[in-house]
Symmetry: D2
């Protein structure tokens, strides 16, 4: 088996353009707090990363070695997935500084929080695991871009608020499995 078969086994967005299939892989964004993540957030993120990998999807996160980003990436790698991290930093100095060790593909934006919009645009569906200011910005940017977002937290205030912004695009899940179930539905 060659190097590509592993990749080829991943789920792809197959489209048609001039009769030629497009192989772009499905990317699921997992967003959540860094330093402010709770233990439950970390456990949920790890499990979500695992399931995403098992589904053959690419995991896309903010790439830092902290909180939900790191936990989801660790989970995906434990299940032999492919992980992409969109970093706020520019990769200078010590190039590994601040990067999750479980990120395969590091995209260095050097753009700080403006990179949050890239996370959103590059994800087919987003799961927000926990809550914080950065996470809230990603959910709001996702809704602005008309993306579906699944909230996995026990923060009723955020659920009510984001549903009020875009009722048809916001879903609430109680467990990682339920969150992934919603992703499957959205992908159709």
């Amino acid at each position: 088996m060659d190097a590509d078969e592993g990749l080829a086994s991943g789920k792809c967005r197959r489209g048609e353009r001039g009769g030629i299939s497009v192989i772009r892989k499905i990317a699921i964004g997992v967003m959540g707090p860094g330093a402010g993540a709770t233990l439950a957030d970390l456990q949920n993120a790890f499990q979500i990363g695992q399931i995403i990998a098992r589904e053959g999807w690419v995991l896309l996160t903010g790439g830092r070695n902290a909180g939900v980003m790191d936990a989801a990436s660790q989970g995906a790698k434990q299940a032999n997935g492919l992980t992409v991290g969109i970093l706020p930093t520019d990769g200078t100095g010590t190039i590994y500084e601040g990067i999750s060790e479980a990120v395969d593909i590091a995209i260095f934006t050097g753009m700080g929080s403006a990179r949050n919009n890239i996370n959103v645009l590059s994800s087919d569906v987003l799961i927000a695991c926990g809550m914080g200011a950065g996470t809230a910005s990603e959910i709001a940017l996702a809704l602005k871009a008309n993306k579906k977002v699944i909230l996995l937290n026990d923060d009723a205030g955020s659920q009510v608020f984001f549903k009020s912004l875009s009722p048809q695009n916001v879903f609430v899940a109680g467990t990682p499995e339920e969150a992934i179930g919603r992703v499957r539905e959205v992908l159709g």
Copy 2:
């Protein structure tokens, strides 16, 4: 009186660097919905723009000819202020397409909603007038950047949610005057 005196009368952030004063003007960001703005949002934004101009501050908005951005800019120009618009577009095609006619300085980012982070970083204080997905992203990005945000809306859900994210950085105002009062306090 020469062209500069008008400018010089504006309030500036005077700092010291090697004994030389810095003249950067104070910029107040006014954020809010475009197409989704209510009549009350527009009236509030217009008044806020007027007062910002009278205070000698620069008005900074998202620059589009829609909703709160446009109303605030119109208010500021009616009071002879200086207005900056940070556009999501790149200024190609018809260069005025989509720009508020009341914007003096148009910054074309060509970055879509990623420009929301520039709005935030370039404002000394932010006022969010009304609510929507784009506005919510700007508030969240502002809190992430540790900026003060004054909410001027009657949406209790958003007030509760953003206060929960950063209690010390979120203020609620009931009127334009109250919002500007808070800005004065924050600027100290």
Copy 3:
């Protein structure tokens, strides 16, 4: 005379949109090296800044307190102009760190060199004063965006190279006055 008259005396791009005039000011971008600027570059930049201000145009630079950016801004302020600086930094820490003291309006992008594209898109015409890697990137991005660029340097290699990329958009000037003459021609 009120605060606006000084501003109103500036040259604007007057357009028509639904019969309503647009007041956006003309912005001339002056690009050039920071630390690597030569004495001639600095003198040229200062003079160009002065003339831009006298013409009633806004000066747009990269905003740092170094090299061509700073010299052009100082020149413009000496002639009572209005100066905009698009900074690579995010304005955190000491907010004046790295900003030219002669910048009126500081746009903090927090995007590093990616902000070079904003400089380009936001300028009606660009003058490149001196040469370096950052300056070369701005010239190239300007040509990619189909903007006119006036080169003011004695570096034949760069003149030949950029003319080869886009013969109709690159002009070479020997003096600040000649550069400004070209700007007037381009603005028409």
Copy 4:
């Protein structure tokens, strides 16, 4: 053999952080014109993509279905590589519009040419295949970021110019094999 083994066989930047290895893959950026690419550029890009894949490196391009970006990605996929495309578009509308069919991981920036800086920062080494305004901006941004760039073209003007900007970071190669040889040297 599971899905990961193929990936695991790729070359990685193994570093140490607290004694834990980092798995980030080595990414080689291949830059070049879209519509303006010559037949030689396309042939070179295809071969370079093939060799990059065989080396186990990730191929990083601007992701569009045009010119050098597309040819390099096609070459890499033919050799069972992994391809990343950093798109200038935001992925809205028809999500495949403009994307090379040979891109596995599509990063939608929605930032136009400002994304060129992300291409640069995310590549361990860059190869510029052919020449044009966009390509020139990427080379210049790479030199600004102190990255090594290998020029594969027969345009003496560009070779002289970029070498003058940063003699230690610019290399000229006559063939794809020679270009890859330089990459190996730079990676050490």
